[in-house]
Amino acid sequence: MVMRYKFEIGCVLFVALAFTITQVDINNFFFFAAFAVLQYVMIATAWNILGGYAGYINFGTAGFLGVGSYTAIGLIQWSDVSIVGQIIAAAFVSGLLGLAIGYFTLRLKGVFFAIATLALAIVLETVVNNWDFVGGAAGISILPPRNPELLGVLIVDRKGGGIFDNNKELLFFLIAFMAIFSVWVARVIEKGKLGRGLNAIKDNEEAAECMGVPTLRLKLIATTISGSLMGAAGGIFPSYLTFIDPPTAFNLEFAINSLAMPMIGGTFTWIGPVVGALLLGTVQQVAIVTISSELNLLIIGVMLVLFVTIAPHGIVGWFMKKK
């Protein structure tokens, strides 16, 4: 019984650990950096549901993320919705976007699908650039609410009366929870009928359809779930940055990272994107502090080239072959 739910128990332990860390007195930069890494775990995992399992390369990660971010901004501008509300709304809107994009573009295959999704991010960025309500091209600053409450419980209080002492701790805990939730979702998909159907699509879509796999429906489910998780990762982003503008929210770096991390970690299993995101995310965070923030993409580029040539099945594939 315990063995069967080993993974689920691990998830709960991880969330508990994340919570414990927030209660310990450590440098706030840790929460800032760990947030970025965990956000990438979430984004890479979400990307892999469509890109790894179904083989549809999505270059529009930034689009889904940006829509999530700006859904949150819209809600903040409109009335004071709690951070959890912002995330849920962002997931919902990006999920709908995923469904719509899926419907219009999934007839495209291979590189054409990639181009269409890349165009999506650019179109959405242009729209937001011209939308003053959410700050337009100049961007927008948001202040975290003072002493926020959720269901009557004081969440953040600098004087120590709330669950967390500051907003960074709260955001770290939320992203830790969402990251592990995403990994759980990806694993459920992978081990289930949906994952096997998506795999058949990746191998040969026409043969899959002829073997009774409802290919269009499965692809739509995958784009919706993938988009929704990316949107949730975007929904928390404005609160983390406290200032956001279209070039940040729709940054192409997200598209490249979300694709490179699973590819370097291994796309065929849920562990791959996690390993890739932890590795690359950490390397990037270290590089930002020690070398320069501009070097990030160079690191990603070099590693991507190395892995594609030396270990095409990623780190996880490399180790499984050795076994």
Binding site: R196, N199, A208, E209, M211, G212, T215
Partner: protein, 241 residues
């Protein structure tokens, strides 16, 4: 006289200005072994693409088991009982042979069954095909005949009423052809209707109860294998004399 399982009525298909099928009509009876022959480019594969739903016919109707297939998606047709193999085998290459067979079982013939039942069904089919020893191997290491057999097994795993075998024997040796024929005849005896597209005349003539010959998108002959062999039109289509 058994009922018609598949009725093809005036089916036509154009690719731009090229007529791949023009006014093709025929019917396949339940339980029949039906041969479909014709020179390269005569429209055989196009016809089965229209039946399986991977192509949409421009005109005419296809009725399967009393149901009009017009507008029905491919996977729905598979669920209704039509499966096919591909001329060039298209295995799910990232999966083991066993997992290849599990896909049609999980999505069509064994919906709702447990993973263990699905595995048992796949294994018993692999035994019938003489491939049980390869169950956990990747498809990349398979020989030509194993690939062909896997392609057939995957289509049979969906437990179709109508199996369309598109050149399942291309590239096989004489003994291997006999082996595949034996398998097909066994499943036909269990009640499966089979359409065989084949260039190996010996096989298709030995197998079929009835044969039609397509040439340039039209049915030029229909009859028993003996009649087809003697048909002047068929001879002309193949030899061009």
């Amino acid at each position: 006289m058994p009922e018609d399982l598949l009725k093809i009525q005036s089916v036509s298909k154009n690719f731009g200005g090229f007529t791949a099928l023009s006014n093709v009509s025929t019917e396949v009876r339940a339980g029949e072994r039906f041969g479909l022959i014709g020179p390269n480019g005569s429209g055989k594969t196009t016809l089965i693409n229209c039946i399986s739903g991977t192509l949409k016919n421009d005109g005419g109707t296809i009725i399967f088991d009393g149901q009009d297939l017009d507008g029905m998606k491919t996977h729905k047709r598979t669920a209704a009982g039509i499966t096919r193999t591909f001329q060039i085998p298209r295995p799910f290459h990232s999966m083991t042979i066993m997992d290849n067979l599990k896909i049609p079982i999980e999505f069509v013939s064994g919906i709702g069954a447990s993973q263990r039942e699905i595995a048992e069904q796949a294994m018993s089919l692999l035994e019938t095909m003489g491939m049980a020893g390869k169950a956990n191997e990747e498809t990349s290491g398979l020989t030509q005949i194993e690939l062909r057999k896997l392609e057939l097994a995957r289509a049979i795993a969906a437990k179709p009423k109508l199996l369309i075998s598109d050149e399942a024997m291309a590239g096989l040796t004489g003994n291997e052809v006999d082996e595949v024929l034996e398998i097909l005849i066994k499943f036909n005896e269990d009640g499966m209707t089979i359409i065989m597209i084949e260039h190996i005349m010996r096989a298709v003539m030995q197998f079929s109860q009835r044969v039609i010959c397509l040439d340039a998108g039209e049915v030029i002959a229909e009859g028993s294998p003996e009649e087809i062999v003697k048909d002047k039109g068929v001879e002309r289509a193949y030899l061009g004399v």
